[in-house]
């Protein structure tokens, strides 16, 4: 068995307040340069909503990710290798800038040069503002906007009508650093690669040739073309920070402290098989089976034999990501049906259920009400299932039941009552497990949320200056115009 290590993330959606701090700090760190004004490596979208770029989940239109051929072989949805070469001159499935949005700025000069008068001078936008990366922010599907949400469209007509009982939550997204990345597979020049040490997916700008196939290839639309340099750019999982044991910028600055980062071990030789499973509802289990149990002695031995350092194995054993996926069974992947085996996982939010209970006049904190609602509410659960389980409501219900149980269990404790062991037992847990889960979700300190081993340099051969970004060479000609 070959073993590779993968940096992975979990986001706990109940805690996201939609403040966009993660997006802004990420932009300051990575995309505040010319040519990528429109690019948000981290974006936060309101669901239901169209997302960014708009309707990116409509793969009939944008052709991202993988599908199966009739004979069950995995193929890129955007077409065969030959077809990709034939469409190099023009890519028929590339989003236009207007599908992201036209970036704008403001005439700040006017603030200081406007003549004195009674009215406060304003900084007018330099171009008409018609759309943005979060245009439908917190609208939760005002009817004109939400009707274009590909997830809602796919749900049945009846459900769309019942949708008047609105619910809403935020979905922060970064590149998934997939185990089976279709961006990598789409690049004809082989310029995008997955790092063997930590699984981070990066673009090699030196070999990118502006074929823009990766943009189409990624179903999450998380590769962006820099329109000044013509090169692809994407989320780097903040690798210069990760290599030093620091969390990504989005995670560190997250106001809700809802992001967890850790190592998982996986078997690269099982990836293709897992991505090719026919039944979409079995994809999550297949994906989980690619990940290895870091406590299993045979896995440890294979990992060490595959060259994974001892401290990385230990980090994998302490990984909060592994706990949330396997020990607590809370985290689910985003759109497993794209078959890229994404490695940013999500704890689906309970808040839509709580809101629905409260809106109908019942006690939204009462466990019995919530348990009943988890079983009865078809709309929010169907919607969450379309996002996280390829439409299978059962795993979503299971996660939500655990979250309800945790609330009920902790409520007793916080009110000074005796904890009721039957509550965790009803979802297959013990009281102490449930208490640990609560600690990890609610009050964990940074060192428990981020378990990030340092990158190993001693075997690197070359002296290192502590920075993995190669020093840029500047030349007089030809130069990219900076505006």
């Amino acid at each position: 068995m070959r073993v590779l290590a993968q940096m992975a993330m979990v986001m706990n959606l109940d805690k996201c307040i939609g403040c966009h701090t993660c997006s802004v700090t990420c932009k300051q760190a990575w995309t505040n340069r010319g040519g990528v004004e429109y690019a948000w490596f981290n974006n936060v979208e309101t669901r239901p909503g169209q997302g960014y770029p708009r309707t990116y989940e409509d793969q009939d239109r944008w052709r991202g990710g993988w599908t199966l051929t009739r004979r069950g072989r995995l193929k890129l949805r955007s077409g065969s290798r030959l077809r990709k070469l034939a469409t190099l001159f023009f890519n028929p499935h590339l989003p236009a800038l207007s599908d992201y949005y036209e970036p704008w700025t403001y005439d700040y000069q006017n603030l200081i040069t406007a003549p004195a008068g009674d009215d406060l001078p304003t900084a007018k936008p330099t171009a008409p503002i018609t759309w943005s990366a979060n245009w439908d922010d917190s609208l939760a599907g005002g009817p004109e906007l939400a009707q274009h949400d590909p997830i809602l469209k796919a749900m049945s007509e009846r459900i769309r009508l019942e949708f008047e009982q609105a619910f809403m939550f935020y979905l922060p997204r970064i590149c998934e650093h997939c185990l089976n990345p279709s961006c990598v597979a789409s690049c004809p020049s082989g310029a995008i690669y997955k790092r063997t040490e930590d699984g981070i997916v990066l673009v090699d700008s030196d070999t990118c040739r502006s074929w823009r196939s990766c943009v189409t290839g990624c179903p999450y639309k998380k590769v962006f073309l820099n329109h000044q340099t013509g090169k692809a750019e994407k989320c780097t999982f903040c690798f210069p920070r990760i290599e030093l044991g620091m969390p990504t910028v989005c995670a560190q600055t997250c106001v809700g402290r809802l992001r967890y980062i850790g190592v998982v071990l996986y078997d690269p030789d099982r990836v293709l098989e897992a991505a090719s499973v026919r039944d979409e509802h079995s994809l999550i289990d297949a994906q989980k089976q690619v990940l290895l149990d870091p406590h299993d002695p045979s896995v440890i031995e294979a990992a060490l034999r595959s060259g994974i350092p001892q401290d990385w194995v230990v980090a994998a054993q302490r990984s909060p990501v592994y706990s949330l996926i396997f020990d607590y069974q809370l985290a689910l992947p985003l759109h497993p049906e794209y078959r890229t085996l994404p490695m940013v996982w999500y704890i689906p939010p309970l808040s839509p259920v709580v809101d629905a209970v409260r809106d109908t006049g019942f006690d939204g904190e009462d466990a019995a009400n919530l348990f009943a609602a988890v079983e009865a509410l078809r709309i929010p659960i169907g919607y969450l299932a379309s996002l996280f389980t390829a439409g299978d409501p059962a795993p979503v219900r299971e996660v939500l039941r655990r979250l309800v149980a945790m609330r009920a269990f902790m409520r007793d404790i916080n009110l000074g009552r005796d904890p009721d062991e039957s509550i965790p037992a009803s979802v297959g847990m013990t009281g102490s497990q449930m208490y640990d889960m609560y600690r990890l979700l609610a009050i964990a300190k940074a060192e428990d949320r981020y378990v990030i081993p340092h990158a190993h340099r001693e075997d690197a051969g070359a002296p290192n200056d502590g920075c993995s970004v190669p020093t840029p060479v500047s030349l007089p000609f030809p130069k990219v115009r900076q505006s």
């Binding site: 023009f90 502006s210 073309l225």
Partner: protein, 227 residues
């Protein structure tokens, strides 16, 4: 004068071409790209780019046949000069028209779509002027039905350049239009490495053979080039 034009200039152009390519590849990999502008505009590009590229690649193939394969060889293969000529004018004319139509759309797009114009570099201007004039003259020659047999003048000289014994006399007797076409083409070749045209050397055929998922180790990924 003839020596300068037909025996010196080609070598200057070829040296600049080769040296420029090596220099650009070594020191400006970040600039080695097709610099797609599809993000800004897709309708015209969808028409113009496939037309232009299809045409130019056919034209390149035609030039290779016409200039590198001596008339003797096609005759020996049993192709009469009449048939050759009909083919050259037919296929060449079609390729030329495709190229020109594509180019016209691309230039129109570049000048009229504001975002595309603003994303243009000085090198794009130089490229389009040289490319446009070469193509225009070349197509005019082909379609004018000019009776001149370039396989007895331009082609031997072109081959002689690569044999390092430039046959200046052969080209000197060709009509002026042929000479002008060749001169501008050499200039285009000299300018090639300094424009986005370098992308023509990056046709990623390796894609057909490599595994889908590319893994690289952290250290190996520093400044490594694949194509």
């Amino acid at each position: 004068m003839n020596t300068a034009l037909w025996a010196v200039l080609p070598y200057l152009a070829l040296t600049t071409f080769a040296g420029g390519l090596v220099w650009r590849y070594r020191y400006d990999k970040l600039g080695w790209t097709a610099r797609s502008s599809q993000l800004h505009e897709r309708r015209l590009l969808g028409l113009g780019s496939p037309l232009f590229h299809g045409g130019i690649l056919l034209t390149a193939l035609g030039h290779a046949t016409g200039l590198l394969i001596p008339a003797g060889v096609t005759r020996a293969l049993g192709m009469s000069d009449g048939v050759y000529k009909a083919m050259a004018v037919g296929v060449g004319g079609l390729a030329g028209l495709m190229t020109l139509a594509g180019l016209a759309i691309l230039v129109f797009r570049r000048l009229t779509v504001r975002a595309v114009l603003r994303a243009s570099l000085a090198s794009d201007l130089v490229m389009y002027v040289l490319l446009g004039s070469t193509i225009l003259i070349g197509l005019a020659i082909t379609l004018s039905g000019n009776g001149h047999d370039y396989r007895a003048s331009v082609a031997p000289w072109f081959r002689s350049v690569f044999a390092f014994q430039p046959a200046v006399d052969a080209i000197a007797k060709a009509p002026w239009a042929f000479q002008l076409h060749a001169l501008i083409a050499w200039t285009l070749i000299a300018a090639w490495p300094f424009t986005r045209l370098v992308h023509a050397f990056s046709l990623p055929l390796g894609y057909l053979a490599r595994p889908y998922i590319v893994y690289r180790s952290r250290e190996a990924s520093r400044g490594q080039a694949l194509d």
